[in-house]
């Protein structure tokens, strides 16, 4: 028993002894449970807080709050981000199109369209007034760089080339492709039908380079809005522009009956953009706003209201509603955003030096010098080709004029009317034809005989310029021959003839006598060579027009063109002057020799 008691007493002691740890364990367990619960709760709460912070809405709120908190002190800072400046001014300047049906149009002071409503919605999100500024394809980027607008929403396709000029907002707010539109009966089905044809385009359109590379000639316009009218009045037989632009016109029965989208190419997403410098916070804010607009379907609502095709926007809504993209980092996630169209042109090896010269001219002399023809490999190649072809064209036109002058002169000086009158008739016809029409006729005949190529166009231009000027110079030469014959006849009648000149002798003397007129028409031929671009001859004017259609710097480019041709023509004037002096001296020597013989 004692043992039992003892045992029991020991058990009792043991029982007493073991009661404390059990309690402690219980307390510990409870404490552990509470702590665990608190940790789980804490983690849960922190996780929820993190989830809220990662939504684009919250990120936008945080960004705007931070910007507002820095005000008004930051309003006066020169280096303040554009977002701060917009909030300080309570106004955002948005560049929009004036004449782009469905997207941005203006009637008096009233603007409407998809992009206008998107701009107004952004203003509301920022809590500021919206001031719209008119831009077009050529001015939208320079106006951003010059700080004349804060944001551009102007049908601008996002390509890699423009990425270096502006900061594009991601995600994109629309997508289109370039479509070539022409009369239904025009036999154009794809790019291979374009060589030799003129396509009307807007300056700065990203797809122009692709059209040029296919051999199309471009007629440039500042505003897309004029293209349908130019198609209707026949100025343009083909026009290339975004499908979104033509969509509205194809809803018109008359337009749809006459015109047809021949083919499309260069699918490109449209992006809003801000300046690359000083707009980091603004860009971030609008990235987030656009994300929210996609997710919430605001873009789709606005598009439907303006009868704009919304298939792309519906796809984008699904993307931006997905958990992966509906976060504040969505706009940098490659699986959420679309890549820009790859339109980057390979730079020349000396492009950095050219840029340095441009910067130096801007900084030191205040001259806005832009040399696009020297900065990218395709432009440089086109420029070189243009210069070479211009020189060939000028040389060819001079030779053709001189040779045809001699031939026309000989024919019109012929004693038989069977030769003389046809030559005179051709001369009258050529004199009566405006040079543009003569060129077009030459090109039409040349293209009837040979397949279209730049060389054929150059040849046709040389022939046309040679004929137009050669016939006039030939007429002067023939008149000189006839006047010499008349003088010789008079002298023979008087019996003072020093000796009759015939054949080549007479002709050489007539050449000297008509030297001034011949030189005048040679100069005229050289001056007329740029018109060859009208029929697609790939000379310098044509090349530079193509280059400026996809690059900036029109003022510098056309100034250089004017200088080039003026200098070349002055050189031709100088050379022709030398030729004229030589011919006149030669004539004087012949006349002197005649007198001596007499």
């Amino acid at each position: 028993m004692p043992s039992a008691i003892c045992t029991s007493s020991r058990s009792a002691r043991l029982a007493r002894a073991t009661d404390v740890p059990r309690f402690r364990r219980l307390v510990r367990a409870l404490a552990g449970i509470v702590a665990g619960a608190l940790i789980v709760l804490g983690l849960a709460l922190s996780g929820a807080q993190a989830q809220v912070a990662r939504s684009p809405d919250a990120a936008l709120e945080t960004l705007l709050d931070a910007a507002r908190e820095s005000m008004p002190a930051s309003c006066a800072q020169a280096d303040a981000d554009r977002l701060v400046r917009i909030l300080c001014a309570k106004r955002i300047r948005i560049g929009v199109r004036d004449y782009y049906p469905l997207f941005g149009t203006r009637t008096g002071d009233k603007r409407e369209g998809y992009e206008i409503d998107v701009g107004l919605s952004i203003g509301r999100m920022l809590g500021v007034q919206v001031e719209f500024v008119r831009v077009n394809a050529a001015t939208r980027i320079p106006l951003l760089a010059e700080d004349r607008i804060d944001l551009v929403i102007a049908t601008m396709g996002h390509n890699t080339q423009r990425d270096s000029q502006v900061r594009f907002i991601r995600p994109h707010y629309y997508q289109s492709e370039t479509v070539v539109v022409g009369r239904r009966e025009l036999p154009v089905a794809n790019m291979t039908d374009l060589p030799g044809r003129t396509v009307c385009v807007t300056v700065g359109n990203g797809s122009n380079a692709q059209l040029v590379s296919q051999g199309a000639r471009l007629m440039l316009f500042d505003e897309a809005g004029v293209l349908p009218d130019r198609l209707k009045d026949g100025t343009c037989s083909l026009a290339a522009q975004d499908d979104s632009f033509f969509a509205n016109y194809f809803k018109e029965p008359d337009f749809s009956a006459a015109f047809f989208p021949k083919f499309g190419f260069a699918q490109v997403p449209w992006g809003m953009a801000v300046a690359r410098q000083g707009s980091e916070q603004l860009a971030r804010a609008i990235d987030l706003i656009v994300q929210v607009f996609h997710r919430d379907g605001l873009f789709i609502d606005i598009a439907r209201f303006h009868r704009v095709e919304s298939a792309f926007l519906q796809v984008q809504q699904r993307v931006w509603r997905s958990p992966e993209c509906n976060v504040d980092t969505g706009s940098t996630n490659p699986s959420c955003i679309l890549p820009p169209l790859d339109a980057a042109l390979k730079p020349t090896s000396f492009a950095p030096e050219v840029t340095a010269i441009e910067n130096w001219a801007a900084k030191e002399a205040g001259i806005d010098l832009t040399l696009p023809m020297l900065k990218t490999a395709p432009a440089w190649s086109m420029f070189q080709e243009g210069v070479l072809n211009s020189l060939i064209l000028i040389a060819g036109a001079l030779i053709a004029t001189f040779v045809l002058a001699v031939l026309f002169g000989a024919a019109m000086a012929a004693r038989t009317i069977l030769v003389r009158w046809p030559a005179r008739t051709v001369t009258v016809v050529l004199q009566s034809s405006p040079i543009v029409l003569t060129l077009v006729i030459a090109a039409a005949i040349a293209h009837g005989l040979f397949p279209y190529s730049g060389t054929v166009a150059l040849g046709a231009a040389i022939a046309a310029l040679g004929m137009a000027n050669g016939c006039n110079a030939g007429q002067a030469l023939a008149e000189a021959v006839w006047s010499l014959r008349a003088e010789q006849g008079t002298e023979r009648a008087r019996g003072t003839a020093p000796g009759m000149l015939r054949g080549s002798g007479l002709f050489a003397r007539a050449l000297g006598r008509s030297a001034t007129q011949i030189v005048a028409f040679l100069i005229n031929a050289a001056k007329g060579t740029p018109i060859a671009s009208f029929i697609g001859a790939p000379e310098l004017l044509s090349s530079l027009t193509d280059i400026t259609s996809f690059a900036s710097g029109r003022v510098t480019t056309y100034s250089l063109l004017l200088v080039f041709y003026t200098v070349v023509v002055m050189l031709v004037v100088w050379l022709c002057g030398k030729l004229g002096v030589y011919l006149e001296k030669r004539q004087a020597r012949i006349e002197e020799a005649g007198k001596v013989t007499a």
Binding site: Q431, V440, F521, N524, P530
Partner: protein, 220 residues
Amino acid sequence: MMALVESLPAEFLPSFLAGMAVNFEIAVIAIVVGLAFGALLAFGRLVGGALGGLAASLIALMRAAPTFVVMFFLLNAIPRDAELFGMPFALSGVMTVALSLVPYSAAYVADAAVDALRHLRGGTTLAALLFLPNVMRAFFVLVMSSSAGAAIGVTEGVTVILRQAEKLPALDDRLVLFAIGIVMFGIPLQLAFVLISFIQKRLSRAAMRAPAAGAPQSGP
């Protein structure tokens, strides 16, 4: 040919005549502005000295500037929202073509005016009057040259012909249409040249020993 003429739309002739009126309008603007600038340049040349040298250099430059390139320069170098003395200075297509012809017309007028003023100083008034047919000749050269406007979408005579030609699939038909265009441009031009020649001959005879008109100038 008759089939083609009959197939031409009824509005072709009125459109073409309206287009030719644009050619004349461009030429009138170019010759008027050219007369003003040309007179100043001629005056400068006759004054001589540094002013004369400057005027001569300007005339040489203007004579060498190709019309077609000047036209594209004006079209591209002048911003659409440009202002002159606070007034909007956006050039229309017609004005762009007209102004591109001014360097030629001013240089031509300057040369002709210098000749005329020298004749006047020499007392040969009738020879000086040859200035008038010379300006008339320049005017008709300008009418023909204004067809360059077709390249920038100005609806002048040649533009109307080219638009019509584009609708004709056969080369033969297009050539016939071009021939019609040449005849329509040629009639006023040749009549003008006959008139100019007549006036020149009358003046030359009247001037008796006055020198004949100078050498032809190159076109624009």
